[in-house]
Subunit: 223 residues, 4 copies
């Protein structure tokens, strides 16, 4: 079973649909119950192991989610997050606080629970960030800040847990056309961007593992 | 006048003392009023332009601080922050939340106010991070996360504001012996570490500017 | 047709074999004619478009290779290189010079020719480096130097040619069990390493492109 | 005594002049004997410990240089190198080969000799690169390649020798107005750039060491 966090839209939703079509069991989660139900309706019901909305800034809620999983997942994909754009001096303090909570605090608390429960299992934890985690961008200072933060978290966890069987894959998509952009208040011509479906297809191809090897990092971009 | 944030201890306190001894006006700020008073008592009173404790997670309180400054600072040194150590699964959620607030949210809100007020002035904004902002470290995953986050913020602000006269210097100290370590719950033999006084002396040497040039980034480490 | 450089052994040889089995035309090249013939013998003859040994430090020889290609390649995979290990003070000057030639000069001259000929075509140029291009390693200083160098070259070419249709994918394998290790004079227990065949299988999965997107960077590591 | 390599022009020449004015003994070296003599003539003769031109691509010549030093240097500053600009497809193969030799092979061979002789001494080895070692730049692909290469070399040497008393400082200047630019065939308006004298003054300030600490990395840029 593949646990997909942030499945209510974008890449997470596309992965849920495609994995279920590939006849893989998926358990989906997201902030928004209504939108999560939409994703669930796109999945092949036979391969939808469950669905549960959760507040990723609440450690107890996260723990409950894991308590309710029908089985231990073989792969966990963390694709939650929200955007925040515009020059720093134009961003409201509450928005800054929210983007930190939704991207960095959520990743810390979620991965803390994953590590507590599963560090001794050979589970692959796939963390979806953004190319904003790899380079600085004007007009995206707080978004880059939280994504660089998640990258620092993952790289440190790899060192911390290198003697353990749990593994982390880092995914950096860029230039993806999802409703992430309108919901972030940024107007962009995204007609040449790749769709979430395209990104999901490439990501699935890249996440294939072999007996001794795995893909550790992958950057997917528009051509 | 040099505005020093995080002056209640460590490198910020050492810089306050040394700059006042160099007959430079300093205005000091920090979370803890009592410890800030201690720092003030080490400064040459003639060169202490003011002192005010402030909660850097409160945007209004930050704005008030700037309203009360006697003059526009020529240099702003941001050296606030707190540590958080141990493997991720051993950290309590409230501690993780606090380390994010004290290091990343505070930097975002503080620099937002600086940029709002001063982006059109040739002010040098010196942001003190840590070598934990430059590399991953086992047992420091959340601390690395917030410090990588601040680095992403600064690098993005540089791009965002490159047409403006305001400038950002990034400082990465490592292996410094301050009460940061005991207050972070980490037991270390710090006898070979450099003192905050030593780091302050090197930093002052490095922050000298010339007509056309300045030090953009500096990493200070124990030998 | 896929042009594979460095096909006489390791990942390049494994990719040649696998792509020909997938019924893709391959043209293979390498330094060593004898070993290149070995690789050719592992490929399905129907899908071997050609084979030619070439000295990648000779710009004219590189140009001749392209003159002799039966068609313009749709994908070019550059997997040439050689290792060099041991502490810097133990390496002989001629070995240092050779590792620079075989890894960095060769990449510069080869990519120069690719860019001269094909920058206006939507060709995907896949450059295989090593995790030694991403992090420093004790005992591998010159090898890291040349691999960091190739990474700097690729990242700059991406900026230089971003308005052009040509695209570059960067591949960073680590912990692969090939005869690279014995030929580099390094003794390692590589029993837990992934084989070149495994790495080739993952790489092929990751290099799938969609209409608007492609994999820009991929790090493959042993689990 | 401070040994300065690449002292025939630019930052190396400015450092030689300034350190001699500060009454520090300097020994200067460079490729070009005539230009090295020019630098020597700007130094206070009482503090010029010696001068010798050397081909840094010749390991024996490097060894001879060290044999002839009057004393073991306390600090070694490596500021040798040459530029190479323009899109990759416009660069001649011999120019590419020369830029690799002058920047990367020279650094490998020189630092190899330094490490062989001095790894057990508390010498500070200062390696001057460029901001081109830190980020990719269009039109500078081979120059970035060699500078990224030197950075990879230094970072690996630090790991390789961390138990030894020898220390490495990395210096990244950007936007400096020297005859480097015209000699590299690049036409730039450098009127807002910092002069080599300014950069030397900042670098001297930054290189001050304390009992337990030193500046490990420093980026100097125009304002």
């Amino acid at each position: 079973m593949i646990l997909i966090m942030g499945a209510s839209s974008g890449l997470g939703a596309a992965l849920a649909k495609q994995y279920s079509e590939d006849q893989q069991q998926v358990f989906i989660s997201g902030r928004n119950a209504q939108r999560l139900a939409n994703t669930a309706s796109t999945c092949d019901a036979k391969y939808l192991a469950g669905s549960k909305s959760v507040d990723l800034c609440n450690a107890q809620a996260i723990s409950l989610l894991f308590d309710e999983l029908p089985t231990v997942p073989s792969t966990i994909i963390f694709s939650a997050g929200s955007g925040c754009f515009g020059n720093l001096d134009t961003q409201q303090p509450e928005i800054i606080s929210a983007v930190i909570d939704n991207n960095l605090l959520s990743a810390c608390l979620f991965l803390r629970e994953v590590v507590k429960r599963y560090q001794d299992l050979a589970i692959n934890v796939v963390v979806v960030m953004s190319t904003a985690a790899q380079s600085a961008k004007a007009g995206e200072s707080t978004y880059c800040a939280v994504k660089w933060g998640v990258k620092g978290l993952i790289e440190s966890l790899r060192l911390e847990l290198k003697a353990k069987p749990i593994r982390f894959s880092a995914v950096y998509p860029g230039g993806m056309d999802t409703d992430f952009w309108p919901s972030s208040g940024k107007t962009l011509d995204t007609s040449s961007f790749m769709s979430a479906d395209e990104a999901a297809r490439m990501l699935k191809g890249a996440l294939i593992q072999t007996e001794h090897g795995c893909v550790a990092d992958i950057t997917i971009n528009r051509r």
